[in-house]
Amino acid sequence: MEHIISVTVENKFGVLSRVAGLFSGRGFNIESLSVAPTLDPSMSQMTIVTSGDERIIEQIVKQLNKLIDVIKVVDLNETESVSRETAIIKVHTKDEDRAEALRIVDIFRANVIDSTPSTYTIEVSGDPKKIEAIINLLQPLGIKELVRTGRVAVAREPIRPATVQAKKVVRE
């Protein structure tokens, strides 16, 4: 099952390789990983989308917690959360396609952020389903380039970190 894990880490060099190394070294899956500094510049926030059965996710959470540069781990599947991904799509547009492209942009509440005589560059945000859907519709026009950020997510309510929850598992 897919899990979104939010990880607060020290904003230091080498931390990303520790996290990535943990996943590759133990054969855990990373579907996407995004990272950027938080309001407090000494920390960074990572959002990791991964998958595995309950035992594997429990190990992932515990192993992340064990990393010394990791400050907090939250498994967002344990709570209500909102997540977003952004894609930037450069589409090839011949004259007759340009109107169609704009219609699709409109329907998906996407934005055209750049335009040349033969291309539109479109920015779209949403959940992965929405992004898949717009990609499917734009594909017939000819997608020249596609980049995706990977997901970022937050819990709806402030929640306790998974360290505590891992210990709750331990307590039951």
């Binding site: 190394g21 917690n65 064990k66 331990v170």
Partner: protein, 591 residues
Amino acid sequence: MILTGAEIFIECLKREGVKTVFALPGGVVLKIFDMLHQQKDLEIILTRHEQGAGHMAEGYAKATGKAGVCLVTSGPGMTNVITALADAYMDSVPLVCFSGQVPTSLIGNDAFQEADNVGLSRPCTKYNFLVKDVNDLATTIKEAFYIATTGRPGPVLVDIPKDVSMAKTEFSYPNSVSIRGYNPTYEGNKWQIKQAAEAITKAKKPILYVGGGVVFSGASQELLELAEMTQIPVDMTLMGLGAFPGEHPLSMGMMGMHGTYQANMAVHYSDLVIAVGARFDDRVTGKVSEFCPYAKIIHIDIDPTSIRKNINVDIPIVGDCKTVLRELNQILRATVNGEQKELRKPWWDQICEWRQAHPLTYHQEKDGPIKPQQVVKQLYELTKNRDPIVSTDVGQHQMWAAQYFKLAKPNRWLTSGGLGTMGFGFPAAMGAQAAFRDRLVLCIAGDGSIQMNMQEMATAVVSKLPVKIIILNNRFHGMVRQWQDLFYEGRYASSYLDTTPDFVKLAEAYGAVGLRANKVGDLDSVLKEAMATDKPVIVDVQTYPYENCYPMIPAGGCNHEMILEDPPELKKKQSGAARVTPEDKDTVLTA
């Protein structure tokens, strides 16, 4: 006080209580060595290879319970020490390794002897640091020792660029450290401990499964109290040996792949497994899905990732063994009474039956070739009153040492379990000897393994570390040959080592003492002579080459399905080769 990086390094080590540094110099660490040369508080043991330095630091750490320290140069110095770091990581040995690095201005330029030390060691250290500024050096070293020795111990690397060791700054050593992402849990959850106590009181067939965590935690006394109070038998892992007295009536000996019959049967049929500081390694569980199928499991471990990694647990307790056992004992003292003894009588009857049915056995003919088990047994009898520290290499001899050398106390057993590093034994023994100059330190070695760090004999002689090496010389990678006999139809692919070198001459060439035993009758006098020598000694014991180590649970097998002796075809074949002597090379190869 304004000091250079190199001087700060020394001041920090002194403040951490370090007495000995195992080291080998090189260009980028020369400043540090130059300062070490001009002081007297730290003893420098110059090794002949950085792997040796790493294992010596491990041996020092295992014997003292304190962090071992080694110092190596950049590039090849670093790559050479990697095996020891990986070994320490697998076996949770507290180690602080300092490596030299090219000057910060050159990092990343493929400079001479540059290696990405932090990148290389990342998967085999608990944590690692690159110190880019001399102002961070003292705090970093403090943190390194703190991380290495607290929680689940492990190796930490501190990479020091050349310019950092030369640069000067005001020195002040922090009194304490706090790392916001690192807070090991020592206290166990009270409610869980109560659950555990209840389960223990009710169990009809309980068993303690004791691992290396008890040794790290110094919880032997608490374990002894728990076992004696509740009369629960004690199984030990390879790493747990010594945590409970080997000769105690409640001791079942080692469990797992080459564990005793009673230990494995008991864990398989028990109704409550109490795992203390052990990590459910596959050499212990065998086939995971059928590991102790009738039991509830209590698991006490300081590392949450150890819990439920391989096996589902009913009552997990994250915490330090000593702290948790203390609390558990306190509850049990109030609840345990004569009833449990009555309740568990059938269990003990069953265990006694297992014990009598298949004790550890071997057959030593009076005039026949020396059986390896006989050597360990005689060595044990001869030295047990001297409370020796025993190290081993990796292979059959390691398993026989584990089975027949009964340790009375913790921190006397130095062996490589998780990584299974051949070549560990001798340098580890030297590390322990460096910590305890007056103690008897034995190294039970294999003829294959000992050659992997033989060069350290020069260190042993020069630094006066009189380790007694007993080589169980079967002219084989015996453990490999055993598997080939059992699972590869006896084809000895690359397992025969032949009869060279002459270990006696080799010892003498180094300036150590070399002795040899060819017959059982020689053993007693040769071992006695070795123990009476004040120099490093190699005792080359020519053993029967085809002896196999039993019991054995084939990889992936179940704990109650042990092979207890050579299968009939093998017995037949070996009776022909029983008289193989070292010179009978052709017989060995065609056997």
